[in-house]
Symmetry: C2
Subunit: 395 residues, 2 copies
């Protein structure tokens, strides 16, 4: 039979990343296209120990239905941790545990936006979030990125002209895909604009704890005096993504609506995983663990940047991230980006075309994303050499 | 600040069940209001053993990002199991693993229905699903239940008159809340009607494996020659709900759309839990385990029915379920149901008012739901005696 899908999903398609990722399953392909944390960053031994302890001491709690808001000790742990990290001091009712940060972003859009209302995002931005917003049939308006974050003049113009703007979505720390960190001055100005135009800021911060250089910059949430910032965090990059545990901290009125929508989406997040995360954060030297994974990513990032400098002509520029998993390359005008990505993968190195991170993938863009967290050191060296050869010989 | 929520969620509220459940946290209250599997039905020792094995042999696979479609061995396990249970033989691409059955129901609605199109459901039906559908701002049309399932004449009338009906949602086995099982004749007729009026059937079957009496009845999916049945299954009642693992089997065109929506909802289901479920189903005598939990529920159901018969006047009728977790009581006209539920909880026994399971909770109904899987045997005996006293003394 023919299926009549909803208007919301008719236009949704597997992203360009997925097409590239098909090639990365070939054993000879070196992938700089993934977004996976380094497996050596997983605290596997600790998780094995904690799992055994939970299953020995408390199996029924880990296996029974639980409340939608999340495992109470973990909510309290994250409440305290957020309070300890800056001037933001949430109540317990301002915190909900979600099935990864992704669910926090998705449900924030669902509870706030009607179809055809506008969500403003960085351009480029994280494909998963953009598709999530599209799946609610909202308008997306992109704001170009500068070296220190969103172009705020452009943003103000969008706020003035867009049809019912309601949310500004931003990844202020080590943004996916660009690796850019928003300056404190821009965070303050962004918050002022949100107040002036009465919109909500959706602050997605999966990489904030993986700053491996430079000084911490306060979260936008810590500037929030009016209750207009939804803060989304995740354990995917600091413990392990397979657990699918994240959290949202927001005004309790918003959290209550997210709770209702989460209840009907998946009832609650896997409770065993929530208990594992709580135990690990509290009793396994979490801050030391973070330092260890920051060391891993600093080394990998520096290795990749060094190899790129050695092999790639200076006409190709790269961001120099101070944290996170990604850097962003921009080709000189005379090199065609899609042709470059295609030739690279034919030569067994995969990068992600920058168009994958745009609202409309057909918009011209001359950049591409590279990931340094997943490949081995040997493959970083080999892959960068191949990219250098590709550029020198084919373009 | 004042928050402008989306129209979809403005009207959503915590259900009447939640209000009742508040009382059930009081230690003196005997709760027949829950829907939790019996903790003694959890294969805790096996899960402890399997968890340790996975963390020892394969920690990175259990902790890394995985594909949205689900853990391939588990998809294959469920594909084979579905094929083994009847005439339905899905391809692997017809199966997706979800975060509980709830996610399967929610995403089926999301991919198929626009706002203001109609989803037809049983009346009463499972609150969680109804709220999930409401959260997409679709019209719900209820079809009254008879002893052998939906009133199909009523259904046909709804199909003729409703505004753009697209889905019929049914829980054919041991329905929540009534415990009713749909007859084979009605399943066939329901499928014919779906074909005639060109709608999809959403067959939600969380309790099908917990038949403890009578003969198995083929699933509606097994009658599906046209690819118009979405079958939703769950491990919550047969392994453990805390794991949040379920599955959907549907035509691959529909599965593909569910995959895109699941990817942007939670990326994938907790992979550790998927690996646990797969290992348990394949290598831990799953069919023996099912027999063991059927024994538990048969005994508990019979105990409750016997105690009700002993204590409650015959003017109150109860369904006699052949499986599942619930039975459904109906009061004689002269007893006011909300007053009865209120007096019961004041006397420390909680049941769920039948209105909680209606599309519009203000519709008059004289029934209530009782759960026999969660309370201990002693509490079943004590609670039924109290209900008897309440009816005899206060009504």
């Amino acid at each position: 039979m023919n299926y009549n899908f909803s208007d919301k999903v008719t236009g949704l398609q597997a992203s360009a990343i997925r097409e590239i990722l098909k090639f990365t399953s070939l054993p000879q392909v070196i992938s700089f296209a993934a977004g996976n944390p380094a497996p050596e960053a997983f605290p596997s031994a600790a998780i094995a120990e904690i799992s055994a302890k939970i299953m020995r001491d408390n199996p029924v709690a880990a296996l029974q239905y639980s409340i939608t808001e999340g495992y109470m000790p973990l909510r309290e742990t994250m409440r305290k941790r957020l309070a300890g990290q800056g001037c933001y001091n949430p109540d317990i009712d301002d915190v909900i545990i979600t099935s990864g940060g992704q669910q926090g972003n998705e449900l924030s859009c669902k509870v706030l936006l009607n179809e055809h209302e506008t969500l403003i995002c960085e351009a480029p931005s994280f494909t998963g979030s953009l598709t999530s917003f599209k799946s609610y049939n909202v308008n997306l308006a992109g704001v170009p990125m500068e070296d220190d974050g969103m172009d705020l003049q452009f943003l103000e113009n969008v706020l003035k002209t867009a049809s019912r703007p309601k949310i500004i979505y931003t990844i202020p720390n080590f943004q996916n895909p660009t690796g850019i960190c928003m300056s404190l001055a821009k965070r303050k100005k962004l918050y002022e604009l949100a107040c002036r135009y009465n919109v909500i800021i959706l602050e997605d911060n999966p990489y904030g704890e993986i700053r491996f250089e430079g000084e911490n910059i306060p979260t936008i949430k810590s500037l929030d005096t009016e209750g207009r910032v939804i803060y989304v965090g995740s354990f995917s990059k600091v413990i392990a993504p397979g657990l699918r545990v994240g959290f949202v901290s927001a005004p309790k009125e918003i959290v209550q609506k997210i709770v209702v929508c989460k209840q009907v989406a998946d009832v609650h997040t896997n409770i065993f995983a929530q208990m594992i995360a709580d135990e690990f954060v509290n009793n396994y030297n979490f801050d030391e663990h973070l330092n260890r994974i920051r060391d891993i990513y600093r080394k990998k990032c520096h290795l990749m940047l060094g190899e790129l400098e050695k092999n790639i002509p200076a006409s190709v520029s790269f961001t120099r991230p101070e944290g996170g998993l990604f850097l962003w390359g921009t080709l000189p005008e005379q090199i065609n980006m899609p042709a470059f990505c295609k030739t690279a993968v034919e030569n067994n190195v995969a990068v992600v075309p920058g168009s994958a991170f745009l609202i409309d993938e057909s918009t011209p863009i001359n950049s591409f994303r590279m990931n340094y967290s997943t490949p081995s050191d040997a493959n970083i060296i080999k892959g960068c050499a191949i990219l250098g050869q590709v550029i020198k010989e084919k373009f």
